[in-house]
C-alpha cells in the first residue's frame, strides 16, 4: 500500500476510539434507571478510557508524512463498493483528540446539572462523541456521511430535551438547517461516486480530476453542508439559538467539535476534490468569511444573553477559520486548522465556564451579573484566561491561530486581511465588555454568596487552560502535525494550475 500507512498497532486503534463510547452507551442502556451514579461513572470512565486510548495516536503519529495513518480497511457493503475505511492524517488527528477530550469535559460538567433522564443524556453524549470521532476518521464517503448525519440524532435530543426554555425551536432549527445542507452534499457525494466509477473511497476520489463545471456544482453542493455547519454567514442563525438553548455539554460539543466539522469538510473534501473550483470561488469564500468575522463581532456588541454572545463570537471566529482555509496558502491553512482547535478549546471552555455559573444562578442574562470577580475570584481568573485567548492575546493559543490566519489571509488578499483585522478590534471590544459586565463593577445582589468553583469544575477547566497556554507558548507541538498534510493538500490544490478568477464569469457559468 503506498497511499496509506496501515495500522501497525496490535489492535485497531481508530475503531477502538470510535466504538468505545458506543460500548459505554450500551452499558448505560442496560443499567437500571435508578442507578444514576453508576451511569455517570460509566460515562466518565468510558470517555476517559477513550481519551487515553486516543493518546496513542498522538504519540505514535508519524509527522513526516502526509499519508493516512493507522488505517483500517475492511470490505463492508461490496454491492456499492463501500469499505469500512478509517485513517487519520495531520489534519484530522488533532480533532480526534479534541473530541475525545471534550467528551470527558462534557460528562464532568453535566455531573450535577443534568437531573432528568440521566441515562438518556449520557447515552446521547457518548454516541455523539463516537459519531464525531467517526466523522474525523472516515476515509469512505458513505461512512463519513453515516457519521455526519447520525450525529444529528443525539445532538437533536441533547438540545431539545435538556436545553433551555426555547429549546424545541432551537433543536428543530438546528436539525433542519443542518439537514438541508447535508442532503445537498449527499447528492454531491452520489454524483462523485458515479463519476468516479462507483467509488466512495475518498483517497481514490482525490486522485481524479473532475470537469470544471462539475467541480463548481459539487463545490456548492458541499458548500451547502459545510457552510451551515461552520456556520458561515448568512447561514449562521441556527447557531445562536442552538448554542444558547443547549445544555452546557451540548453547547460545548457544538462549539468545540460540531462546527469544526464544516471547516474540516472544506479542508478534507472541498479543497482537494475540487481544486479549481475552490480556487475560483476563493473571492466569494473570502468575502463571506470577512463578512462573518465583522458581522459576528458587531452583533456580539448588542447581545444581552451570555451564551448568545459567545455563540455569535463563534460565527466571527469561524469566519477566521474559513478565511484561513481559503487563503490557500500554508500559513492560512495551518492557522485555520490550529484556530479550529483553538476555537474548540476556548469557546468550549467559555461555554463550560458559563455553564458553571448557570448552574448556580440559572440566568444567562448578562445584566444579572456584575462584580463576580469579587465573589468567585478563581472562576474569574479562569474566565479571564479564556477571554484573553478568545481575543487573541499573544501567549494564548488564540493569538497563534489568528496571527497565522491573518498573515495567510493578508498574503492572499490584502483587503480581506485588513478587514479581518478589524474583527479583532471589535472582538476585544465585546469580550472585554462582557468580562466587565460580569466580573467587574458593583456586585449584583443576585450573585452574592455564590460558591466559587469546586474541585470537579476546576478539573474540568484545567486541561483547557493548559491547552490554551501550551498552544500559545509552544504551538509547534501541534503545528508540526500538520505540515506534511497541509503541504500535500496545497500541492493538490495548486496542481490544477491557476484558474483565472472572475466571479461574474464563474457565476454565469454556474447558471448556464
Amino acid at each position: 500500500m503506498e497511499q496509506v500507512i496501515m495500522n501497525q498497532l496490535s489492535y485497531p486503534i481508530l475503531s477502538t476510539v470510535i466504538f468505545l463510547p458506543v460500548l459505554g452507551a450500551l452499558l448505560i442502556l442496560i443499567t437500571r434507571r435508578s442507578w444514576e451514579l453508576l451511569t455517570k461513572w460509566i460515562a466518565l470512565g468510558t470517555s476517559i478510557l477513550t481519551f487515553i486510548v486516543s493518546l496513542t495516536l498522538f504519540t505514535d503519529f508519524d509527522k513526516s508524512t502526509h499519508k493516512m495513518q493507522f488505517v483500517e480497511k475492511h470490505s463492508w457493503i461490496p454491492n456499492w463498493n463501500i469499505n469500512y475505511y478509517l485513517g487519520v492524517d495531520g489534519i484530522s488527528i488533532l480533532f480526534v483528540l479534541l473530541s475525545a477530550l471534550t467528551a470527558i469535559l462534557c460528562v464532568l460538567i453535566s455531573w450535577n446539572s443534568i437531573k432528568a433522564k440521566v441515562k438518556e443524556f449520557y447515552i446521547s453524549i457518548l454516541l455523539t462523541t463516537s459519531f464525531m470521532i467517526g466523522v474525523f476518521c472516515s476515509l469512505d464517503f458513505f461512512l463519513f456521511y453515516l457519521f455526519w448525519e447520525a450525529m444529528l440524532i443525539p445532538m437533536f435530543l441533547i438540545i431539545g430535551v435538556w436545553g433551555g426554555p426555547n429549546r424545541i425551536y432551537a433543536a428543530i432549527k438546528f436539525f433542519l438547517y443542518t439537514l438541508v445542507g447535508s442532503v445537498l452534499m449527499l447528492v454531491g457525494i452520489i454524483v462523485l461516486y458515479l463519476y468516479a466509477g462507483k467509488s466512495f473511497d475518498i483517497l481514490e476520489l482525490m486522485t481524479k480530476n473532475y470537469p470544471y463545471t462539475m467541480q463548481l456544482w459539487l463545490f456548492w453542493a458541499f458548500f451547502a453542508a459545510f457552510a451551515v455547519k461552520v456556520p458561515m454567514w448568512p447561514v449562521h442563525t441556527w447557531l445562536p439559538d442552538a448554542h444558547t438553548e443547549a445544555p452546557t455539554a451540548g453547547s460545548v460539543i457544538l462549539a468545540a467539535i460540531l462546527i469544526k466539522m464544516g471547516a474540516y469538510g472544506f479542508l478534507r473534501f472541498s479543497l482537494p476534490l475540487f481544486p479549481e473550483a475552490s480556487k475560483a470561488m476563493t473571492p466569494a469564500m473570502l468575502t463571506l468569511s470577512v463578512i462573518a468575522i465583522i458581522y459576528g463581532a458587531v452583533i456580539c456588541l448588542a447581545q444581552t444573553d451570555l451564551k448568545r454572545l459567545i455563540a455569535y463570537s463563534s460565527v466571527s471566529h469561524m469566519g477566521f477559520v474559513t478565511l484561513g482555509i481559503f487563503a490557500l496558502n500554508i500559513q492560512g491553512l495551518e492557522g485555520g486548522i490550529l484556530q479550529m482547535l483553538n476555537h474548540g478549546v476556548v469557546t468550549g471552555a467559555l461555554f463550560l465556564s458559563v455553564g458553571i455559573v448557570y448552574d448556580r444562578t440559572h440566568s444567562r442574562q448578562i445584566a444579572d451579573y456584575g462584580g463576580l470577580a469579587t465573589v468567585m475570584p478563581i472562576y474569574a481568573a479562569f474566565f479571564m484566561v479564556f477571554t484573553l485567548a478568545s481575543v487573541g492575546l499573544p501567549g494564548t493559543n488564540g493569538f497563534i491561530g489568528e496571527f497565522l490566519i491573518l498573515l495567510g489571509g493578508f498574503a492572499a488578499n490584502k483587503l480581506a486581511g485588513v478587514l479581518a483585522c478589524t474583527g479583532i478590534i471589535i472582538g476585544a471590544g465585546y469580550m472585554l465588555w462582557l468580562y466587565q459586565k460580569i466580573f467587574f463593577m458593583e456586585i449584583n445582589k443576585k450573585i452574592i454568596g455564590l460558591p466559587d468553583m469546586d474541585i470537579r469544575e476546576t478539573i474540568t477547566l484545567v486541561p483547557l487552560i493548559v491547552l490554551v497556554l501550551w498552544i500559545g507558548i509552544y504551538p509547534n507541538s501541534f503545528l508540526s502535525f500538520m505540515h506534511a498534510s497541509v503541504q500535500h493538500l496545497l500541492e493538490r490544490v495548486n496542481a490544477g494550475g491557476v484558474q483565472e478568477v472572475n466571479i461574474a464569469k464563474t457565476i454565469l457559468e454556474v447558471v448556464r
Partner: protein, 475 residues
C-alpha cells in the same frame, strides 16, 4: 380436445396461500380463540415463504410469471402479513372486532397482491388487483360499529372502483390496439408495428397510470389515502400502507417496463411531475397534521414519491432500488404503526400526536423505538431509511436525474420536520394525559423484528441490496 393441466409448480406459493386462507376460514368456524388463527396464519405464511424458493418459472401461457422480481415482492407481502398480524392480535380485541374473517381476508388480500406481482397478463393483473382491493375494502371497514371505519371503507371503495374503471378502460384500449393482453406480446406488438407514437396507446398508458397511481397513492390520485388510513383499523392501515402500495409498484414496474418499454420516454415524462407532486403533497400537507395515522398517511404518500424515482430511472438498477426501498419501508412503517397501535387501549384512541407528549417519560422504550422509526422514515443514517433513499438516489442520479434527486432531498429535508415533531413531543414535552400502553407479546415481537431490521439494514445493507439486485437480474 384434451385439456392439459398447466405446470403448477411456479404457483405453489399462491396455491398454498389460498389453501391457507381457506383453512383459516374453516377453522374459524370451529374455534373460539381467534388468536390461534393468527398463529396459523403466520405459521402458514412462513411456510409459504419457504415455498417461494423453488417457485420460479412461467405458467398458464405467460399469465403467471414467477421470477426474482415477483418473489421479492412476495417476500415484502409476507413480511407485511406477518408483521400486520402480529400487531393486530391485541388490537382487534381492543376494537372488539376479533373475528376470524379478519385473518382470512388479510390472506386473501395478500393472494391478490401475489397475483399482481406475478401477473404476466392484464386480465390476471386486473383480477388480482380486484381481489386485493375488495379484501382491503372490507378490512378497512372492519370495525363496522365505528363510523370512521365505515367512512374509510366507503371512500376507499368508491374511489377504488372509480380507478379500476379507468384501469379497465385503459386495458380495453391496449387490447384494441394490440389484440392481446399479454404483457410481452403487447411489448413486441408495439415495437413491431411502431405504435410508440400512437396517442391511443399513450391514453391507455395514462389510464393505467391513474389506476396504479391510485394504488400507490401518488398525487393527484392520493386523496383517498389520508381518510382511509385514518379511519381504517390501525393494523389495517399498517397493512395497506405497505402491501397494496408495494403491489401497485410491482405492477407499475412490470407493466411499464415490460409492456410499455417502447414508450419509456413518455411514461417517464408523465411520472416525473407525478413523483414531484407526490413528494410535495405528501411532505407538505403532513406538516400540518395532528392525527398521527393521517400524518403517516401523508408520509406514505411522500414515500411513494421517492420510490417512484426508482421507476422513473427505467432501468433494472432503478427497479432494484425501488424494491429495496419498499422492503425497508415495510419494516419502518409497520414498526411505527406498532408503536401507534400500542397507544390504543380500552377507551383511549391514542391517535392524536398530542397523545405522544412526554411519552419518553412514561414509556421510554416505546419512545425510543418510535424515535428510531421516525429517524428512519426521515432517512437519517444509520437507519434503514437512509439506505433506501441512498439507493434510490444513486440509481436516479446514475440515470441522469440529478435535479430530480435534488428536489427529492429537499422534500426529504422538509419531511424531517413532521417526523421530528413526533420525537419532539415524545422527548421534549411533559406528559399531559396518562397513556397506558397495551403491550402484548406479539406486538413486542413485531417491534423487535422491525427495530432490528431497521438498524441492521441501516448498517449492513449488503444482503438486502444484493437480494434486490439478484431479484431484478432475470427481469
Amino acid at each position: 380436445m384434451n385439456f392439459q393441466l398447466p405446470n403448477l409448480s411456479p404457483m405453489v406459493p399462491e396455491l398454498t396461500m389460498t389453501a391457507l386462507a381457506l383453512i383459516v376460514l374453516l377453522i374459524d368456524l370451529l374455534i373460539k380463540k381467534k388468536e390461534i388463527l393468527a398463529l396459523i396464519s403466520m405459521a402458514g405464511v412462513a411456510i409459504v415463504a419457504v415455498t417461494l424458493l423453488g417457485s420460479s418459472g412461467v405458467t398458464f401461457g405467460n399469465m403467471f410469471i414467477s421470477d426474482g422480481y415477483s418473489s421479492f415482492f412476495k417476500l415484502i407481502f409476507f413480511i407485511n402479513v406477518i408483521l400486520s398480524v402480529l400487531i393486530s392480535i391485541k388490537y382487534i380485541a381492543i376494537e372488539r372486532v376479533n373475528y376470524g374473517e379478519y385473518y382470512s381476508l388479510i390472506l386473501f388480500s395478500t393472494i391478490g397482491m401475489m397475483i399482481m406481482a406475478s401477473a404476466g397478463d392484464l386480465i390476471v393483473l386486473y383480477l388480482g388487483l380486484e381481489l386485493m382491493a375488495l379484501s382491503t375494502y372490507i378490512l378497512a371497514g372492519f370495525i363496522r360499529h365505528d363510523v370512521k371505519s365505515n367512512e374509510a371503507a366507503l371512500k376507499y371503495f368508491l374511489l377504488g372502483a372509480f380507478s379500476s374503471a379507468f384501469l379497465l378502460y385503459g386495458i380495453s384500449i391496449v387490447y384494441g390496439l394490440t389484440g392481446t393482453t399479454d404483457l410481452k406480446a403487447i411489448a413486441s406488438f408495439i415495437s413491431e408495428k411502431g405504435l410508440a407514437n400512437n396517442f391511443s396507446l399513450l391514453l391507455s398508458v395514462i389510464f393505467l397510470t391513474v389506476a396504479f397511481g391510485f394504488k400507490i397513492a401518488a398525487a393527484p390520485f392520493h386523496m383517498w389515502a389520508p381518510d382511509v388510513y385514518e379511519g381504517a383499523p390501525t393494523s389495517i392501515t399498517a397493512f395497506m400502507s405497505v402491501g397494496p402500495k408495494a403491489a401497485g409498484f410491482a405492477v407499475l414496474g412490470r407493466v411499464f417496463m415490460v409492456a410499455f418499454v417502447s414508450v419509456k420516454v413518455d411514461w417517464v415524462a408523465i411520472l416525473i411531475p407525478l413523483s414531484i407532486l407526490t413528494m410535495a403533497v405528501g411532505n407538505i400537507v403532513a406538516l400540518s397534521q395532528t392525527n398521527i395515522k393521517r400524518m403517516l398517511a401523508y408520509s406514505s404518500i411522500a414515500h411513494a414519491g421517492y420510490a417512484l424515482l426508482g421507476i422513473i430511472t427505467a432501468n433494472n438498477e432503478g427497479l432494484a432500488s425501488m424494491m429495496n426501498y419498499l422492503m425497508i419501508y415495510a419494516f419502518m412503517n409497520i414498526g411505527a404503526f406498532a408503536v401507534i397501535i400500542m397507544l390504543r387501549s380500552e377507551g383511549f384512541k391514542g391517535d392524536s400526536i398530542y397523545d405522544y407528549e412526554g411519552l419518553s417519560k412514561t414509556h421510554p422504550w416505546a419512545a425510543a423505538l418510535m424515535l428510531i422509526f421516525m429517524f428512519s422514515l426521515t432517512g437519517i443514517p444509520p437507519t434503514a431509511g437512509f439506505i433506501g433513499k441512498l439507493y434510490i438516489f444513486i440509481s436516479a442520479i446514475n440515470a441522469g436525474y440529478t435535479w430530480l434527486v435534488v428536489v427529492a432531498v429537499i422534500f426529504s429535508a422538509i419531511s424531517a420536520y413532521f417526523y421530528m415533531r413526533i420525537v419532539m413531543y415524545m422527548y421534549m414535552r411533559e406528559p399531559k394525559v396518562t397513556v397506558t400502553l397495551s403491550t402484548s407479546l406479539p406486538t413486542d415481537f413485531a417491534l423487535v423484528i422491525t427495530t432490528v431490521a431497521v438498524l441492521v439494514i441501516g448498517v449492513f445493507p449488503s444482503f438486502l441490496v444484493g437480494l434486490a439486485r439478484a431479484a431484478i437480474r432475470g427481469f
